[in-house]
């Protein structure tokens, strides 16, 4: 089954067309039975995936969940290779992934506002078109209990430097920390989810 996957470089990214693709391998290091996904799967086991040992993301980004039905801990997958469960989790709480779905990154602009209290109250921090590895370094020492994403897709993290539990923020409102899957109202870093398909601009020059 894993025929044409030795050479991911040959897979062209179709900019403009949202072609998501990832391969799930039942064993570590891209071995064992593999399954190709091009769309959401709410229950991997029901779809015939016994377990997720490693993942190759050919075209993303995707988000994986610890439990079926897109519940539980979240893991963001950008294009690349993830040879073991500890390559996608920061928390190391659980090695299971039971659901996966593509993340729509449909905006070139990114704007998020995070609030200290639920229902968008209290002190807030607004971030536009940038990543923030440390909220404390920007004068925001409060909890994060609610958020409004005006554009773009973001990932929040419990600790600075994009560590700890990952919380995906898609466009919309999150009134309470449970709405973004957090048991505690703590976020200390946040970044945009960007992918070459949509963010062709930027300062990358793969010089040959």
């Amino acid at each position: 089954m894993a025929t044409d996957h030795q050479n991911p470089a040959s897979k062209q990214q179709q900019s403009g067309s949202s072609a998501f693709k990832l391969i799930v391998y039942e064993q570590e290091n891209f071995q064992g039975r593999c399954h190709e996904l091009t769309g959401p799967c709410n229950n991997l086991q029901e779809a015939g995936v016994e377990k997720v040992g490693s993942i190759l993301v050919l075209c993303g980004p995707w988000v994986g969940y610890e439990q079926p039905g897109c519940k539980g801990e979240q893991y963001v997958f950008e294009k690349g290779e993830y040879p073991r469960w500890d390559s996608w989790t920061n928390s190391r709480r659980s090695d299971s992934i039971f659901a996966l779905r593509p993340i729509a990154v449909d905006s070139q602009e990114h704007k998020i506002v995070l609030y200290e209290s639920p229902s968008f109250a209290g002190k807030k921090i607004e971030i536009v078109d940038d990543d923030v590895p440390s909220f404390h370094a920007h004068g925001y020492h409060e909890k994060v209990s609610s958020a409004r994403v005006q554009s773009g897709t973001w990932v929040g993290y419990q600790y600075p430097g994009y560590r700890g539990y990952q919380y995906l923020f898609e466009k919309g409102e999150y009134k309470d920390n449970c709405d973004f899957g957090a048991q505690q109202a703590q976020i200390q870093s946040v970044r945009r989810v960007r992918d070459m398909q949509w963010h062709q601009r930027g300062a990358f020059h793969p010089a040959v």
Binding site: P8, A9, Q13, V57, G60, P61, F77, E78, K79, G80, E81, Y82, D86, S87, W88, S91, R92, Y115, A121, G122, K123, K124, I125, E126, I127, V128, D129, D130, D131, P133, S134, F135, H136, A137, H138, G139, Y140, H141, E142, V155, Q158, Y159, P160, G161, Y162, R163, G164, Q188, S189, R191, V193, D195, M196, G202, A203, F204, H205, P206, A207, V208
Partner: protein, 235 residues
């Protein structure tokens, strides 16, 4: 202090953090959740044990960034510590291979510009990827799916990671040439994401815009409705 603005110390009231006279401060606690014996450091420490701290259970970075190491003498696995709170060891290590942290030093971020070159082969040969003033959560997504065997950090300080999304072991790239992946502490030529180390102390321009020019936002002790703190990218 040669500061452009009047009072850039909006971060922690009373704690001075200048641009030119940069100050670093970290508090190490013996136990998790900021309990037990503690020591304060404002400069490098080759061996935390020499300061009579048996082990590091939690950390508060009051002014950074710092880079900490698994072993004494700045050796072993690296942990980049930006300003914030780290309540237990699993919050600063990405690999969770070792719970020891035995040395640390300030991470100099002496340039507001950032330029990094990654090479497929050692000795700066083969296919190359150049990154200027941005973070790259997935090198593959930008067309660079090769291994990373050597690196030139031309400007600024960077952190590379084994896996996409800034996961896996961390490798600090300070300004300089790294001919071989062993030079940055890696046992394999694999880097899948890379980002700049930035800190408010140095990156006042571009990176964020203060609503009233020259006037810093209010300190965190403000109550009631907030003053938005806007950050935006300055390409």
């Amino acid at each position: 202090m040669s500061e452009q603005q009047g009072a850039p110390e909006q971060l922690a009231a009373g704690k001075s953090q200048g641009g030119a006279g940069a100050t670093y401060k970290v508090v190490l606690y013996e136990f998790e959740n900021f309990r037990g014996k503690k020591i304060e450091l404002s400069a490098e420490c080759k061996d935390v044990g020499e300061k009579n701290l048996e082990k590091v259970g939690s950390i508060v970075v009051e002014s950074g960034p710092w880079v900490a190491f698994e072993r004494q003498g700045f050796a072993g696995e690296q942990f980049v510590l930006e300003k914030g709170e780290y309540p237990r060891w699993s919050t600063w290590t990405n690999s969770q291979n070792s719970y020891s942290l035995l040395s640390l030093r300030p991470l100099r971020v002496d340039s507001a510009e950032h330029k990094l070159q990654l090479f497929e082969n050692g000795g700066f040969a083969g296919r190359k990827m150049e990154i200027v003033d941005d973070d790259v959560p997935s090198l593959w997504a930008h067309g660079f799916q090769d291994r990373v065997a050597s690196v030139k950090a031309l400007n600024g300080t960077w952190v590379g990671y084994m896996y996409p999304g800034y996961r896996g072991r961390q490798y600090v790239f300070e300004r300089g040439d790294y001919k071989h992946w062993n030079d940055w502490g890696a046992t394999a030529p694999q880097v899948q994401s890379v980002r700049r180390v930035r800190d408010m102390q140095w990156h006042k321009r571009g990176w964020h815009q203060l609503k009233e020019s020259g006037k810093p936002p209010s300190p965190p002790s403000i109550s009631g409705t907030s003053k938005p703190w806007t950050l935006s990218e300055g390409h």
